[in-house]
Amino acid sequence: MRVQLFATCLGDLVFPEAVEDAAALLRAAGCDVEFPRGQTCCGQPAFNAGHRRAAERLAHAFARAFSPDLPIVCPSGSCASMVAHRMPVRYEVWELSAFLDSIGAEPLARNDGLRLAYHSSCHLLRELGVDEAPRRLLARTGAELVPLARPDLCCGFGGTFSVRQPELSVAMADDKLADGGRSDALVTADPGCLMHLQARAARTGAARVVHLATALARGAA
């Protein structure tokens, strides 16, 4: 099956290894992965800040880069939701784990003996309704899933929220990191949550935070 990989801007610039892991998982599941070279960003930062004209410019760039006739897969629930719900063109867009789960992917047993906690990122959970697929895939890699007290609680990133409300944003990250503290690693499907939580954990020495694609492809250890 041919799919278009949308790296997302954070994936491209900050977490290229996670995107490589995503591409490897797709190939291992038998997909022919294309990387449209004209891609940049879905425009969500502008859309969420109310700058619709700016967001439209990015949406047009997105439309020039991606074909509406092939599925788009991206390692981010939030960007997948943006593409699914807030663009003038209709795409068949999937968050990575939802797609892998739907085609019955069998990731290798990279997490045998590891205790992992999964953070249900907000837009993946509430706007795309995806919650079990990431857990199912992690379980297939041999991980023992440690339930979070509040898996659905926002980690505090929220795009521009993280700098408009820095105190609250950091306090929310601390709650999430503390909740994940009983596991070997906290796993998230979103580069936004990942960047925010890792950045806070780097200051406090709190839990290890890993992208889902990395946890599935290479293990979370």
Binding site: A7, D12, R37, G50, E127, G158, M195, A199
Partner: protein
């Protein structure tokens, strides 16, 4: 304008109370056979009334007057205050006993009555505590949520002139003792109204403490403040909303008291007021009747969105302003007062959508926040520098070559990122994210 995190004392009190309330809601919803169907029906009932609000208000007023009540339509807070004051003065009132009403907070009623020499006493325990403390409510259904038993004991002890133990039972007994005189002597009872039923002209009051019963039965005059959007067509419709209100607010199946009041005391009846006045308050609600913002008028003030909101739970209700807070406040207040006066409220959210998922009448709260942010930009309320930044950014990133160039330059400039602007704000509590040496596109 960013919100600070509550101090430790108030944070702990808020966290425990909201967790109890939100867990209660989740359990109460889980016990219903089909919560989604009920939410959908509730949404339809609310929107039916809102889409044809004038006709529904006319029907309610006609039925109310047929039952012997009097209706007063007020366009503004000022008119509403003047109306209540006139009713009090006409009846020679010296003391008004109040049951909890967020609308009375919205219109600033207490201050207006007190300025005219009328004593006003709150009789809802939470509101009474706040009145003693001189504070505003910080939660629409649990107004004193930030106060602990020790805080309350100190306030009640000061009234008694003797120590009151910080136990729930002792606190409630002390408040009852202190308020007894008010119930007996009040000339006017002032309440809100959770709903108004068009077919019967009834107002519905939902309470847990019994003070609402005393306030509406003992004083000679009862004044009920009603937001014009709170009408429901029939009693059957009301029953749908009542199934959701208490479950969503406190996790109760029903509140301790659900009161349906139809007109004043009739001949041969033993209790009830001689006069019932319903003050119908617009105060900006008509502004919401355009486009998608109409949905906000469906709100039944259950507080579920506050309890699930991570922003509310960290910042507390006071951060949003003196009256409404949490996601419902962040949407409603700018719409009532004007975006230019409340430009920061639409940004008091991480857009996590927990509010939308918790709303019993299916108001798309986080979507409305997005619309308000769009309007902030559209109406030119955002700063010139923010607009310029997003415009420049979108011009660069909508062209792949300029994206590549700007991100390569960005990597070079990254060490300076923590010195100013958003990077500096970010770096106050977090490490700056490392930009990869080779982007994914350079590897693919």
């Amino acid at each position: 304008m960013s919100f600070p995190v509550l101090d430790e004392h108030r944070l702990a009190a808020t966290d425990a109370a909201t967790l109890r309330l939100l867990t209660g809601r989740e359990e109460a919803w889980a016990q219903l056979d089909d919560i989604e169907d009920l939410r959908e029906r509730a949404h339809t009932i609310r929107m039916t009334a809102i889409d044809d609000l004038d006709a529904h208000l006319d029907r309610f007023v006609a039925a109310l007057e047929a039952a012997g009540g009097r209706a007063h339509r007020c366009a503004t807070a000022e008119e509403a205050r003047a109306t209540v004051l006139r009713i009090c003065v006409d009846n020679g009132a010296k003391l008004a006993a109040k049951s909890k009403s967020m609308l009375s907070e919205e219109i600033g009623l207490n201050t207006a009555l007190e300025a005219a020499g009328i004593d006003v006493v709150e009789t809802d325990l939470g509101e009474y505590i706040l009145q003693l403390a001189g504070d505003h409510p910080v939660h629409i259904i649990a107004p004193a949520i930030e106060k602990t038993a020790d805080d309350v004991a100190a306030l009640l002890s000061a009234v008694d002139g003797a120590p009151v133990e910080p136990r729930l039972e002792a606190l409630a007994q002390a408040a009852r003792r202190q308020l007894r005189r008010v119930f007996e002597q009040a000339d006017v009872g002032v309440t809100g109204a959770n709903f108004a039923v068009c077919e019967t002209g009834s107002i519905c009051l939902v309470t847990n403490e019994g003070n609402g019963g005393l306030v509406t039965a003992l004083p000679r005059v009862h004044v009920a403040l009603l937001g014009i959007e709170r009408v429901v067509p029939t009693l059957d419709d009301l029953s749908v909303l009542l199934q959701l209100l208490a479950r969503s607010g406190t996790g109760q199946t029903l509140t301790t008291y659900t009161r349906l009041l139809t007109g004043p005391r009739r001949k041969g009846e033993d209790d009830g007021p001689e006069e019932l006045h319903v003050v119908l308050v617009d105060n900006g609600r008509s502004n919401l009747r355009r486009g998608r913002y109409r949905e906000m008028l469906a709100c039944i003030r259950c507080g579920a969105c506050l309890n699930v909101c991570p922003v509310y739970r960290k910042a507390g209700g006071g951060a949003y302003g003196p009256v409404y807070s949490g996601p419902m406040g962040a949407v409603l207040v700018p719409l009532l007062r004007g975006l230019e006066r409340e430009p920061h409220l639409p940004h008091a959210s991480s857009l996590c959508g927990a509010c939308t998922a918790a709303c019993p009448v299916k108001i798309p709260l986080h979507e409305l926040l997005l619309d308000l942010r769009r309007d902030l930009v559209g109406e030119g309320i955002v700063s010139r520098s923010e607009r310029l930044a997003f415009t420049l950014w979108s011009l660069l990133w909508s062209r792949p070559a300029l994206y590549r160039l700007s991100t390569a330059l960005g990597r070079l400039g990254r060490p300076l990122g923590a010195l100013a602007g958003p990077g500096r704000t970010w770096a106050a509590g977090r490490a700056l994210p490392p930009l990869a040496r080779r982007r994914y596109r350079d590897r693919a």
